[in-house]
């Protein structure tokens, strides 16, 4: 959330970036009046956040690979509707590439995990190819909001804050926060964290939760999950907090570390996200999740991807949500 705030502010700075680009492009040839024109269009677009300005369409679609979108559709939105996705034959789905067992890349270079299993099913049912974009926790909202990914399936916890920027579909999983720490100095309650350093990944629910409810706890923030775990292993912090599913799986496989706090904060749900206003895609995903519920798809997904990680440490029914209905 913080990152988006910064981006909003820097939207004005983007004008300068554009000016720089233009100035540089125009370096060889003589400077054109175009910089002035850009300036005025930014002034409008920063006021009306999100909606793209009309005059920029000429340059828009060119880089979106494979999108045969016309200028008109580009003006209307930065996202692609269900029909556009279908006709392009490809859906772009944002997943984690370094967060096993939800989204990771195996040693053959293929995407694997709980989210990926679902993504592949979506591709199959839509009749299109799935193109995976690897994302980091803090940039997930931006990917969807700017249309760089049609759908986000990256262990994305539903929050009110995020719901203002993206549209969430029905949930397919539920989680709370967990805190993992070394056996030698276990953190069993939030009080144990007083005067200690807690490691978190930027842009996660853990960051928001601790910043809001426990501003006294010192946070050590990392951009990437891999770095956050390494920080814990290296002893750069006393504990690491993120979704309980994630820390449970990790602690099981890392002897010497235990999850002292298994459930903290409110129980949250994890759901796919689409760009704000992308109703056609949202409706399709919701129907899909409901249909899949009848065949217990997510239990099958759990068995295929998560079971080997959790073993007996977790009960599938406490994590999986079928048909979008949280009990």
């Amino acid at each position: 959330m913080k990152k988006t705030g910064i981006l909003r502010k820097t939207a004005t700075a983007a004008l300068m970036a554009a000016a720089v680009t233009m100035a540089m492009a125009g370096c060889g040839s003589s400077a054109k009046g175009s910089t002035g024109v850009t300036g005025s269009s930014t002034a409008d677009s920063t006021g009306v956040t999100g909606s793209s300005t009309a005059d920029s369409t000429g340059d828009a679609g060119s880089s979106t690979a494979g999108s045969a979108a016309t200028d008109q559709t580009q003006t209307a939105s930065t996202f692609r509707s269900l029909d556009e996705i279908k006709s392009s034959g490809k859906i772009v789905i944002g997943v984690f590439s370094d967060k096993a067992p939800f989204g990771y890349v195996d040693d053959k270079g293929n995407y694997q995990g709980y989210d990926v299993y679902f993504a592949n099913r979506i591709g199959k049912d839509l009749g299109v190819k799935v193109e995976f974009v690897p994302v980091d926790p803090a940039s997930r909202v931006e990917y969807v909001a700017t249309g760089k990914a049609d759908l986000m399936l990256a262990n994305f916890t539903v929050t009110d804050e995020r719901a203002q920027k993206v549209d969430f579909a029905l949930p397919y999983m539920k989680v709370a926060l967990g805190v993992v720490s070394p056996d030698t100095a276990p953190v069993k309650s939030v009080d144990d964290l007083k005067g200690k350093t807690l490691i978190i990944a930027k842009g996660t629910t853990a960051e928001t939760y601790f910043t809001k409810n426990y501003p006294d706890i010192r946070l050590d923030k990392y951009d990437q999950y891999a770095d956050a775990y390494n920080a814990l292993l290296d002893g750069r912090g006393d504990a690491f907090s993120t979704d309980n599913t994630e820390v449970l799986a990790w602690a099981l496989q890392n002897p010497g570390y235990t999850v002292g706090i298994t459930s903290l904060g409110d129980e949250d749900t994890i759901a796919p996200a689409v760009a704000k206003g992308n109703k056609t895609l949202l409706d399709w995903v919701n129907t899909e999740i409901q249909t899949l519920g009848t065949e217990k798809f997510f239990h099958a997904d759990y068995d295929a991807t998560l079971k080997s990680f959790y073993g007996d440490a977790a009960d599938p029914d406490s994590l999986v949500v079928e048909g979008g209905k949280v009990e």
């Binding site: 828009a60 880089s63 040693d107 270079g109 700017t146």
Partner: protein, 224 residues
């Protein structure tokens, strides 16, 4: 082999993937360097102009790029521009644009520095010999400038190669991201993977940057 994280390298196609990642890093670097150097030279010459407007413009551009962390510039180009104008630059295009904007500004400043470091009497002596402005620049000033420019320019090239690593944050899978993916996928079986894989990545970056600095040394020796 339980302890040796190095064996991860030979599992599946991991090593090949790292090399593919390295190729992405190299491609990004080569393209950006190839575009930045000529643009930077032009920008550097522009910066030495006495005209007040030219000075203000070059000052603004340089300060803007200097003050802005490269990561912020990258996010502006990738997400900010899409928000503000609806231009959806691909991750690759944003990365190249970031490196080129930054590289051009830095290179420009190096060129400017090299140009103004040539003492006045060199110009005056050339004029005294009856050389035209063009001759002075090409035959007297330029050779000396290149000599002074070479070490910092090569340094900039290696910095650009290393800066490509921040593009992982907009989803480009280059050598570093591939390494992180391998570390994560094997974190559970091989907790020491991080050390080994980052070690290999360090070595790969070294393999790329070392020849560049060797080349620089040779060129410098030849010039002296």
């Amino acid at each position: 082999m339980q302890d040796s994280g190095l064996s991860i390298l030979f599992m599946g196609s991991n090593f090949l993937r790292l090399l593919q990642g390295l190729w992405v890093t190299l491609q990004l670097s080569l393209i950006s360097v190839a575009v930045s150097l000529p643009l930077g030279i032009a920008f550097g010459m522009f910066m030495t102009l006495k005209h007040p407007a030219a000075r203000i413009i070059s000052r603004l551009i340089l300060d803007f790029v200097r003050i802005m962390p490269q990561l912020v510039l990258l996010f502006i180009l990738y997400f900010g521009v899409a928000h503000a104008f609806g231009w959806n630059l691909s991750a690759y295009a944003s990365a190249v644009a970031m490196l080129v904007i930054w590289g051009t500004a830095e290179m420009g400043d190096l060129v400017r520095g090299a140009l103004i470091s040539i003492p006045r009497h060199q110009y005056e002596s050339a004029a005294a010999l009856g050389m035209t402005g063009r001759q002075t620049f090409l035959e007297v000033i330029l050779p000396q400038t290149v000599q002074r420019l070479l070490p910092p320019a090569i340094n900039l090239v290696t910095r650009m190669i290393k800066t490509t690593s921040i593009v992982v944050l907009i989803g480009i899978v280059e050598v570093l991201k591939t390494g992180q993916q391998i570390i994560d996928a094997n974190r559970l079986q091989f907790p020491s993977a991080a050390l080994w894989i980052y070690g290999v990545i360090f070595f790969l970056y070294f393999l790329v940057c070392w020849p560049v600095s060797l080349l620089a040394k040779r060129l410098e020796r030849r010039m002296n």
